[in-house]
């Protein structure tokens, strides 16, 4: 099975997020930067030092790159204490300085009090901190983080990220942060590079990358519950819109103008939360897409309720539980769905 | 993976049942020094009578232990008198079948190129510094080893060469030690040395006066199911044809004292 990773990115000091679905190549990219995996061709440099250059036949070993890497599994040395783990990369320093630096970084990440414990003896969040401290103790040029905060509570995550930011304010190194969670992308709010199938798909701020996804898989990752396949029925350049006929039904919806011609196959991504629902045929609306359908299922999900509505094409719609009560929504009920043109995003399938 | 497959192979091999003994076959336990003479004896016998002789070669001590514990042999050709006598005394032999079939001799064997002057110096040549190791069969239980020690003692050089001695489990192994060059000389059985595989060296006959005669006796075992066939093979070996073959291979059936010949 072949996988081709073909990317060109630049990461300035600060956090750059690598976002994309599983198997997109994010971890592979980190492996190449760290020197654990050797690319077939290309050039990697960090802070002016060339780490790898296929043309000049340069390939620094991982231990010469000064690149810090926190793996998803953390890879803490199970037979060593926290302090020994953190000090592992400092072997070149004299003993006193080593102890000083280790203590300094452990304090910065609040794991100083666990210094004599082994990794199995502390909690998940503390292990993540020890792993971070271990990587940063060596004052690397680059920090690579592979899904470092999976499985932690929101407030734990936030606390660790705060400490990381504080540390980086002083050191200003590029930090590449790999994640497939859109919450984390929004929370971190820094530069995002979206990767899929081994290629860079888009770059920019979280809003730019997440809310206007160009790729279907990014769209799924970014939380667009409705991904509708169809073909272009009409192109109206003057109005800046297109009409798309959805597969498997007579439904046509109006979407923003895209680079497509009539007959082209497209995929339209719509958030379930962007769809309005009415129990009576709406009148005088600005929205251009009104579709009649029937509720197939009502699925309560905590703070919102998900409705499956069949308009010839199935739709997922999110409404509040109070709306469900007020309108007495139930399966079998006839409803109308309202969809703004600009809530429809064209996505490559 | 390799270990697993070789284990499976070993299991299979051990589980394969041994060939069922056929009625037209007798099983013989023979001393190692008969290794070259016995096949010819067996072949001639089969040609004459159609009875197959299957032979197992071991040191006489090993055979004796096994026979004591019920090993399924019909005949035992030992390299000495003691073991067959013990079997008879223990009631494991068919009475009256114990007999001497040959007399063995020991020789000093050296590989080609050795510069020992045995014809003139006799066993004293073994004291030469070029001889670092002398291989003999283990005297604790091998008759030829005991004979070798006896000869060295009689020649008065045992004390001087004792440190050079190395012991093979049987005379075949002693021969191996010399042939591989690890021992520079060996006191071996003449019957081993007469075989073609040892023609890359010289054998010097040790004077008979230096050691008690190596009388080799055979006996039919009580547990045999083929008594008549076993007896007929024994008679064949002691008869004219058998003696001719034995003589060819370094045994001396002519030396067997008539009183020891035993009953037919």
């Amino acid at each position: 099975m072949f996988f081709v990773l073909d990317v060109a990115i630049e990461a300035p000091p600060g956090i750059t997020i690598l976002f994309g679905p599983s198997g997109a190549g994010k971890s592979t990219l980190l492996d190449c930067i760290a020197g654990v995996l050797r690319p077939d061709e290309g050039c990697i440099s960090a802070a002016g030092l060339v780490l790898y250059d296929s043309q000049r036949k340069i390939n620094l070993r991982p231990n010469a790159r000064s690149v810090a890497y926190v793996f998803q599994s953390l890879a803490l040395f199970p037979h060593m204490t926290a302090e020994e783990n953190v000090a592992y990369g400092l072997a070149a320093l004299p003993r006193d300085e080593r102890k000083l630096r280790a203590t300094e970084i452990m304090k910065a990440f609040a794991v100083d009090k666990f210094r004599s414990r082994k990794p199995a003896e502390v909690s998940g969040g503390e292990r993540q901190r020890i792993a971070l401290a271990r990587s940063l103790a060596t004052r690397p040029r680059v920090l690579l983080l592979d899904e470092p905060l999976t499985g932690l509570d929101a407030h734990l995550k936030a606390a660790i990220l705060d400490d990381l930011r504080t540390w980086n304010a002083a050191h200003r190194i590029p930090i590449l942060y790999v994640t497939h969670s859109r919450e984390e992308v929004s929370a971190l709010g820094e530069r995002v590079v979206a990767i899929d199938h081994g290629r860079v798909v888009s770059e920019g701020t979280p809003v730019e990358v997440l809310d206007a996804p160009r790729r279907k898989r990014i769209a799924q990752a970014a939380g667009f519950e409705n991904l509708l396949n169809g073909s272009v029925a009409d192109v109206r350049e003057a109005d800046g819109v297109m009409r798309v006929r959805l597969d498997g039904s007579q439904l046509e919806i109006e979407v923003p103008l895209g680079f497509s011609a009539v007959g082209h196959k497209v995929c339209v991504a719509v958030r379930a939360g962007d769809i309005l629902l009415a129990t009576q045929p709406p009148q005088g609306l600005s929205a251009r897409n009104v579709m009649e359908g029937r509720i197939v299922a009502v699925e309560p999900r905590g703070f919102l309720t998900q409705l499956r509505v069949d308009c010839g094409t199935p739709f997922l719609v999110h409404v509040t539980p109070s709306a469900v009560r007020a309108l007495e929504l139930a399966p079998g009920q006839r409803v109308w769905l309202v969809l703004k043109t600009h809530s429809c995003h064209l996505v490559e399938s | 993976m390799l270990i697993r497959s070789s284990l499976v192979l070993a299991l299979l091999v051990s589980v394969v049942p041994p060939k069922a003994a056929r009625a037209q076959e007798i099983r013989v336990a023979a001393a190692s020094d008969l290794r070259f003479a016995m096949p010819e004896l067996a072949a001639k016998f089969e040609k004459q009578t159609g009875i197959r002789v299957s032979v197992t070669y071991e040191s006489s001590g090993s055979s004796f232990s096994q026979l004591q514990n019920g090993a399924p042999f019909d005949l035992f050709f030992s390299a000495d008198m003691e073991y067959p006598r013990k079997l008879e005394a223990a009631g494991l032999a068919v009475p009256g079948t114990l007999c001497t079939y040959a007399v063995g001799r020991i020789v000093v064997w050296t590989p080609n190129g050795a510069k020992l002057d045995l014809p003139r110096q006799g066993l004293n040549a073994l004291r030469d510094s070029s001889v670092q190791k002398i291989a003999i069969a283990n005297p604790e239980y091998a008759p030829y080893g005991r004979a070798a020690i006896a000869a060295l003692q009689k020649a008065g050089i045992y004390a001087q060469v004792k440190a050079k001695l190395v012991y093979g489990e049987n005379i075949s192994q002693a021969a191996q030690f010399v042939q591989s060059g690890n021992a520079q000389a060996g006191i071996l059985a003449e019957s081993i040395v007469k075989s073609s595989s040892m023609n890359d060296g010289d054998a010097w006959e040790i004077p008979l006066a230096l050691y008690p005669p190596l009388e080799q006796a055979a006996v039919v075992l009580k547990s045999t199911a083929n008594k008549e066939k076993a007896v007929s093979f024994l008679q064949f070996v002691k008869g004219g044809d058998g003696r001719a073959v034995l003589g060819k291979y370094g045994f001396h059936p002519e030396d067997v004292a008539p009183s020891r010949a035993g009953a037919t």
Binding site: N63, F77, P78 | G61, K133, G181
Partner: protein, 228 residues
């Protein structure tokens, strides 16, 4: 009954086990982590003593030790006498015979170390030697113990190879297994039984001490080996 054969066997087993560990560690490390395509050939060679009957192995070692053989010639040049029928000869033959019992547990142990730990060590600036000494080896202690114990036990019980190259010299090459065999051959069953019992008791004591200690250490290590 003399203790000499047992002491000789113990001496032989200790020397052989130490040599196998000293040589086996770097060799096993290479086998575990090398990516050379011909690696499987070496693995097969290492496993050969498992399938070869000991007497066959012993025979070829005997030939190799002879004046024409590679081992014999080398030894003769350096030491002025032959290699067969000496304690050193037994050591060499036993090292060959017990090789897989040392190398295979070591390789298995090294290979079971989480590769990510090795990557982490490299990324943190450690060279291969440091990674081996500080990460791989401490996490492979059970394998090292197993390798030592198996080599030791296997050598104590060795018979076929010693028979072929030893020459049965008391105090030099007459190990306890040979001594017991001699006694059986000489029909001295009483002595043989006594010696066999002595060997059995000794082996039982040594092995139970090692396994008892190992189990305790192993359990502790097992707890610590869990990574999140």
């Amino acid at each position: 009954m003399t203790l000499e054969p047992l002491l000789l066997s113990i001496r032989l087993a200790l020397v052989v086990s130490v040599i196998l560990l000293a040589g086996g560690l770097p060799f096993a490390y290479w086998l575990a982590f090398s990516r050379w395509r011909g690696k499987f050939l070496l693995e097969t060679v290492v496993a050969l003593p498992l399938v070869l009957p000991p007497t066959v192995l012993g025979f070829y070692v005997l030939v190799a030790m002879g004046p024409q053989g590679p081992l014999g010639r080398f030894w003769q040049t350096f030491f002025g006498h032959g290699l067969a029928f000496t304690f050193e000869g037994l050591v060499i033959a036993s090292v060959l015979y017990s090789l897989p019992f040392a190398v295979q547990p070591l390789v298995a142990s090294f290979e079971s170390v989480d590769r990510k730990l090795l990557d982490a060590s490299a990324v943190l600036g450690a060279g291969r030697a440091r990674t081996f000494l500080r990460v791989v080896l401490p996490l492979s202690i059970p394998g090292v113990v197993t390798a030592f114990v198996l080599s030791f036990a296997h050598t104590i019980g060795e018979f076929g190879v010693v028979l072929m190259v030893g020459g049965n010299l008391p105090g030099i090459t007459r190990t306890i297994s040979i001594a017991i065999y001699d006694q059986v051959q000489s029909l001295d069953y009483g002595q043989a039984n006594r010696m066999a019992l002595l060997l059995l008791i000794f082996s039982f004591v040594v092995l139970s001490v090692v396994y008892g200690f190992h189990r305790r250490v192993g359990r502790d290590l097992g707890r610590r080996l869990w990574t999140p």
